[in-house]
């Protein structure tokens, strides 16, 4: 396979995954701001949504204040924000068009249809209800695309590259959610375990559709350490860092076997996977969740670069 094709396949999935993630952030933030003020929300929810999306610099350039209107606009339709939902879907589609023949028709239809539909949404004036419908629609696009890839793609290097894009992006997203929520949302004087805390961690779980899973696994009230355990170390949780790396390592191994060569990307992914399976959440909290996550995000980016150097350029 040409490295250019591999590169496009990888980025198609990455952009779709990112669009879904942005929709999830906006959905969760809207929920959080709808809480009664007696729960003492810090009022920084929209600021933290920008942080979680990882585009605070671009946002600061474009807007003075992080409020609902500005943030929603910036993260959804703003053409100047390279990772707005609109631009993610546009990038996904243009990458897809470049490798049209490497995609199945179901995958292409999902993306192309989404792009056309998006322009209808863009023209509408949206009230809150319509906006919520829009966010649901974005999540649906990702589900349909992901499902088509899963159901229709031939299991060869094309599929593996597209999966790598999904899981690298997902690992990055989960890590960012954990990091931002842990720091920004907890006011200094709020006791850990207070009612505000409860809603914020519940929001974290909702962002990754894990609230029900949490209750199945732990069968107790929502606690920060267990939320982190679920999202970092639990391999049964499909968005956890460990589950993402289990998949990354598996698909990199498949590529290594198919090409008869393996290199730094395989070694690096295995190392991170070993690290995640040999760590307990108590140790993570002891050394600081923030440091752990920050290191993880750096490592994850580094793996992205390694994969790029090894396969995509």
């Amino acid at each position: 396979m040409l490295s250019r094709t591999a590169d496009s396949l990888y980025w198609v999935s990455r952009y779709v995954e990112r669009a879904e993630y942005l929709a999830r952030i906006l959905d969760a933030t809207t929920r959080l701001t709808n809480l009664p003020t007696t729960y003492g929300g810090a009022g920084t929810e929209w600021q933290s949504a920008v942080l979680t999306a990882g585009c605070e610099e671009a946002f600061a350039k474009a807007y003075a204040e992080a409020n609902e209107r500005n943030v929603c606009d910036f993260l959804t339709f703003n053409p100047d924000n390279p990772s707005s939902i609109r631009n993610c879907l546009a990038q996904a589609r243009s990458n897809a068009r470049a490798v049209r023949t490497a995609l199945t028709s179901e995958m292409w239809d999902a993306l192309n249809g989404a792009w056309l539909e998006l322009q209808r949404f863009e023209k509408k004036r949206m009230d809150r209800e319509e906006f919520a419908r829009f966010l649901d629609w974005v999540k649906n696009v990702s589900l349909v695309f992901d499902g088509s890839a899963y159901r229709t793609m031939l299991r060869d290097d094309g599929y593996w590259f597209s999966r790598l894009g999904v899981y690298l992006e997902r690992a990055d997203n989960t890590a960012r959610i954990l990091d931002v929520k842990y720091h920004v949302l907890l006011p200094a004087d709020e006791q850990v375990g207070g009612s505000l805390d409860y809603f914020q961690w519940t929001t974290v779980l909702r962002e990754v559709s894990a609230l029900t899973a949490y209750h199945w696994v732990y069968r107790e009230a929502v606690k920060p350490i267990l939320v982190a355990d679920l999202l970092v170390l639990n391999r049964r949780m499909p968005r956890s860092l460990a589950a993402c790396y289990e998949n990354i390592s598996r698909f990199l191994d498949a590529l290594g076997d198919a090409y008869g060569r393996q290199g730094p990307a395989q070694r690096q992914a295995r190392k991170t996977l070993a690290n995640l399976s040999n760590t307990r959440i108590d140790d993570v909290f002891e050394h600081g969740l923030h440091e752990f996550i920050e290191e993880f995000i750096t490592e994850n980016n580094r793996l992205g670069n390694t994969i790029f150097e090894q396969y995509l350029q």
Binding site: D253, Q262, R267, L273, A274, N275
Partner: protein
């Protein structure tokens, strides 16, 4: 190196067993030097197989089956990718602080002869690391490693006196000396891939690890006179053999047990070249 392991443990009972319980420490974990690509444990008898962890962090499977059972075969198949780290064990799970491995056990008790031997062979060496290398070579020179077939361990002191022993007792001798010299030491059970350069290996093997302040845990394989390289697959650790034994079991009934173990660990074909 990519190593394919297949390990079969077969039991025949002259009189069928009514109930069998087995504790299996037969599943490796990932660390910087090894990556488990696939691993399966398959008993040929219906029963319950439950995974858990022990105090050292080893993955332990408990197998329970109700009889009558006249023969039981447990089959382990695995594929491991290893990297040569010159004996260093990094990025592994450390459940227990290294100080805990100072403790002597029945199998690693020292006698006068062992203590003298340890002091003597390390007298000329400067750093703890070179002491351990000197000790590894001295133990390897003095002790003849014999095939395990049917033999059981006798403990460090007795093995030392006999001058020949199975691999697990050679590891015990080394650990006894290291602990006498004030260093934490632990037992490792695992597999060694067949290789022309290694005199002892080809299947199940045992060696020791010592904790050194500047380096962390380092493996020493006296029987092969080297620090474990990419031919070694590390499966379980413990204070001694009894702690890390691959299989421990009990049964009701089943007199006249006949055990048949076959292990093969060899470089997998069609492996990936490293770039």
């Amino acid at each position: 190196m990519r190593i394919r392991i297949s390990h079969t443990i077969g039991y025949d009972y002259a009189e069928p067993a009514r109930h069998i319980t087995q504790i299996l420490r037969l599943t490796p974990r990932d660390h910087d030097g090894q990556h488990v690509m696939s691993w399966r444990i398959e008993p040929n008898v219906d029963g319950r197989l439950r995974a858990s962890q022990d105090a050292h962090g080893n993955i332990v499977h408990s197998f329970y089956a109700d009889g009558p059972i006249s023969s039981l075969v447990i089959r382990i198949d695995g594929l491991i990718e290893t990297i040569d780290l010159a004996g260093a064990v990094r990025g592994g799970l450390e459940r227990v602080p290294c100080e805990a491995y100072h403790r002597d056990t029945l199998l690693t008790q020292q006698d006068e002869a062992l203590r003298n031997f340890a002091d003597e062979v390390t007298a000329g060496a400067g750093t703890p690391l070179s002491q351990m290398h000197a000790l590894m070579n001295a133990v390897g020179d003095r002790m003849k490693c014999v095939e395990a077939s049917g033999r059981i361990g006798v403990g460090a002191a007795a093995a030392f006196a006999a001058r020949e022993a199975i691999a697990q007792d050679i590891a015990h001798v080394f650990m006894a000396c290291a602990r006498h010299l004030g260093l934490p030491a632990r037992y490792v059970s695992g597999y060694v891939a067949r290789s022309d350069s290694l005199p002892h290996g080809n299947g199940a093997h045992a060696w020791a690890e010592v904790h050194l302040d500047d380096y962390g845990w380092i493996g020493f394989d006296c029987a092969n006179a080297l620090c474990p390289i990419d031919t070694h697959v590390r499966v379980a650790i413990g204070l001694d053999y009894a702690d890390a034994a691959p299989v421990r079991g009990s049964r009701q009934g089943g007199e006249g047990e006949n055990l048949d173990v076959r292990v093969s660990a060899r470089e997998a074909e069609g492996r990936s070249a490293n770039q």
